[in-house]
Amino acid sequence: MPLETRGLYKTLGDFHLRDVNLTIKDSEYFIILGPSGAGKSILLETIAGIHSPDSGRIILDGTDITSWPARLRNIGMVYQDYMLFPHMNVEKNIGFGLKQLGRPSYEIEKATADIADLLGITHLLSRRPDTLSGGEQQRVAIARALVIKPRILLLDEPLSALDAITRRKMRNELAGIPSLTGVSVIHITHHVEDLISLGHRSAVMDGGTIVQTGKPDEIFSNPRTPFVAAFTGMENLFTGIAKDSHEGRIVQVGPVKIHAITRYNGQVQCGIRSEDIIFSREPLKSSARNVLKATVMKIRLMGSLAWVVVDCGITLTGVLTIKSMYDLKIDEGDTVFITFKASAVMVFPDGQNRDKTEDTETG
C-alpha cells in the first residue's frame, strides 16, 4: 500500500479539500475524475508536499510524511503545461533531479540516456523546450519526473493540452508506465474517456471531496450519485416521486410513470442511459417494463451514431446507430415507441433522505 491519505482537509482561496480518503496500491494506475474546480489539483499538490493540509495525514509506505517537505517525499509531479525549465535544454531538464541529489555527472548522463531511450526522446536531448511539440514536451516532463525513481507519479490533466491524435497515443504510453517502471500513477482529469481507457481504479471528485471510488466500469454501471451519473455521461436525469402502485414500484416523473427497481419512497432522482433506450415503430413485446409512445423532436448525427431526442411526456435522449435509424425510418416529427428495462432506471435518493437509505440501495 504505497500511498494513503486520511481525512485530508485544505482550504486555499476558493478551493477546498474536504475529508479526502484515498488508498493507492503498488504499480496501480489510479484516475481521479472531476470537473474543473473540484479541488483535484490542490489534492495532487498536497500529496506532493507543495501545500500542507489543514488537517489529516498522508502516509507513504507506512511512514507519515504529512510534514515532510516536497523535496524529500520522492513523489514526482507532471503538470498539464509541463513546466519544463525554459533556460535548460532537454538533457539538463531531465538531469535536474539527479543533480539535486548530488549524483556524479557520468551517472546523471547515463540515467538521462536510459530514461530518454525508454520514452523515445533520445533525439531531443540537445533541444530547448520551446522548440518541442506538446507530446514531446510531455515525454520530457515525464522523463524528468521518472528519472529520480519516484514512488508515486502525479499527473495533472496530462492529456488536456494535446491534440486528439497525440492524446490517443500518449494515453497508451501513460498506461504502460506502472508496468514498465513499477511506479504508481495518480492521474487527474475531467475527461471521462481517460477513465474508460486508463484506470485500474478510480475516484470521482466533486466539491473538494471524493464522492465514489471503484473500478471504472463499476462507476459507469453503478453511479452512486446523480452527479457521478451525469458526469459519466448519463443524458437523462429527472426528479420524481417513488411509490407503490398496482403495477408495482414506479417513479412518477411529471405525467409519466416509470417502472423502476428501488426501495426509496418519496422524492428521488432517476437516470436512464441513452444506450439503454430501444427504439421501434410498433410497441415491442418484451420483458422490458417501460414501453412509451413518443414523438421525435430532434436528431443529432455524430459520427456513426444518431442521438434522438423524443417527447413522451418528458424529454428523453436515446442513441442508436445511423444504420438502424435508417432501417427504422425515424425522422423528426415521427411517432415511435421507446422501450427500456425497469433495471435500466437508476434511482438516487434526493438530498434530504439520502442518509437514511443510502446503504440499502443497489440500483
Binding site: R73, Y79, M83, P86
Partner: protein, 268 residues
C-alpha cells in the same frame, strides 16, 4: 461624403505626424546644440583634462559599486515580496517604494541628517565611521535612490515566473536556495540584466542625493553630474558641457542596449 471623410482623416493624421516631427526636431536641436556649442578642440581637451578623467573614474567606480550593492539587496527582498506572505508585507512594499516618488534632494537631506548629526550618525562616528562628504557617501546616496527601482523590476520579474516551475523543482529534490539559484533567478535573467543596466545608468547620473550627502568638492566627490554643476557655477562652460556630453552618451547607450536587447519585453 466618403471622400470628405477620408480627406478629414488624412488631414488629422498629417497634423499629428507633423506635431510629432516638430517635437523630435526640437529634441534634436537641443541635444545637438549642446554637443556642438563648444569648438571641437576645446571639447576634446576638456574631455581629456585631469578633472573630467577623475570624474569619469569616480562615477564609474561608485556607480558599479552601488549597482552591485543594489543587486545584493534587491534580489532577496524582491523574491521575498514576490513569493512569501508575511505580516505587514503590503506596508513594507509601500515603504520600499517611497524613495521612487521622492525628489532625490529630499532623500539626500534625509540621509545627511541620518548619517550626520543624528543619534545614529554619532554612533557611527564613535566606532570611527564617518561617511558624510566622502566617496562612500556617493555610493550610499546612489544605492538609496536606486534600490527601490531594482526591487520593483525584480519583483515583477519573479511574479511572472509561474510558481509551478518552483513546485516541480521541489518535487525533484531542490532545496529552497537551489530553487532560487537554479530556477527562479535564471528564468528572470533578462529582467535582471535590464534592471542592472538602468540602475547603473541612473547611478552615473545621480545628482541631488549625492550633492546633499557627499557634497560638491572638486577632485574629491566630483562625479560627472557634480563636475557639470561645479564648472557651470564657476563659468567653465567647456568642462560643464564635456561632462554633460558624457552623460548624454551614457543615456543614449543605455537606451540602445534596452531597445535592442530587451526591445521585445519592455518591463519598465
Amino acid at each position: 461624403m466618403q471622400n470628405l471623410k477620408a480627406c478629414t482623416g488624412s488631414w488629422f493624421k498629417s497634423l499629428l505626424v507633423l506635431l510629432s516631427g516638430v517635437l523630435i526636431l526640437f529634441f534634436c536641436l537641443v541635444f545637438g546644440g549642446l554637443v556642438l556649442w563648444p569648438d571641437p578642440q576645446s571639447l576634446v581637451s576638456a574631455l581629456t583634462s585631469e578633472e573630467i578623467l577623475f570624474s569619469i573614474q569616480l562615477s564609474l567606480f561608485t556607480a558599479v559599486t552601488s549597482t552591485l550593492l543594489c543587486a545584493t539587496v534587491a534580489l532577496p527582498v524582491a523574491y521575498a515580496l514576490s513569493r512569501y506572505t508575511f505580516p505587514a508585507k503590503e506596508f513594507m512594499g509601500l515603504v520600499i517604494s517611497l524613495p521612487l516618488s521622492l525628489p532625490p534632494l529630499v532623500a539626500g537631506i534625509a540621509l545627511l541628517i541620518f548619517f550626520g548629526p543624528s543619534f545614529f550618525g554619532d554612533l557611527l562616528r564613535l566606532i570611527g565611521v564617518d561617511i558624510v562628504y566622502t566617496t562612500a557617501a556617493i555610493i550610499v546616496a546612489q544605492f538609496f535612490v536606486n534600490v527601490p527601482y531594482l526591487i520593483r523590476v525584480m519583483r515583477s520579474a519573479f511574479d511572472s515566473v509561474h510558481p509551478r516551475y518552483e513546485h516541480v523543482a521541489r518535487t525533484l529534490g531542490a532545496s529552497e536556495p537551489a530553487v532560487f539559484f537554479q530556477v527562479s533567478l535564471p528564468m528572470s535573467r533578462q529582467a535582471l540584466l535590464a534592471g542592472l543596466t538602468i540602475t547603473w545608468s541612473k547611478a552615473m547620473g545621480e545628482f541631488g542625493a549625492v550633492l546633499m550627502l557627499a557634497g560638491a568638492t572638486r577632485m574629491k566627490t566630483e562625479t560627472l553630474p557634480i563636475a557639470l554643476f561645479l564648472n557651470l557655477s564657476t563659468g567653465d562652460l567647456d568642462f560643464a558641457i564635456a561632462s554633460a556630453t558624457i552623460l548624454l552618451a551614457i543615456s543614449v547607450g543605455t537606451l540602445l542596449v534596452f531597445e535592442y536587447w530587451f526591445g521585445s519585453k519592455r518591463m519598465v
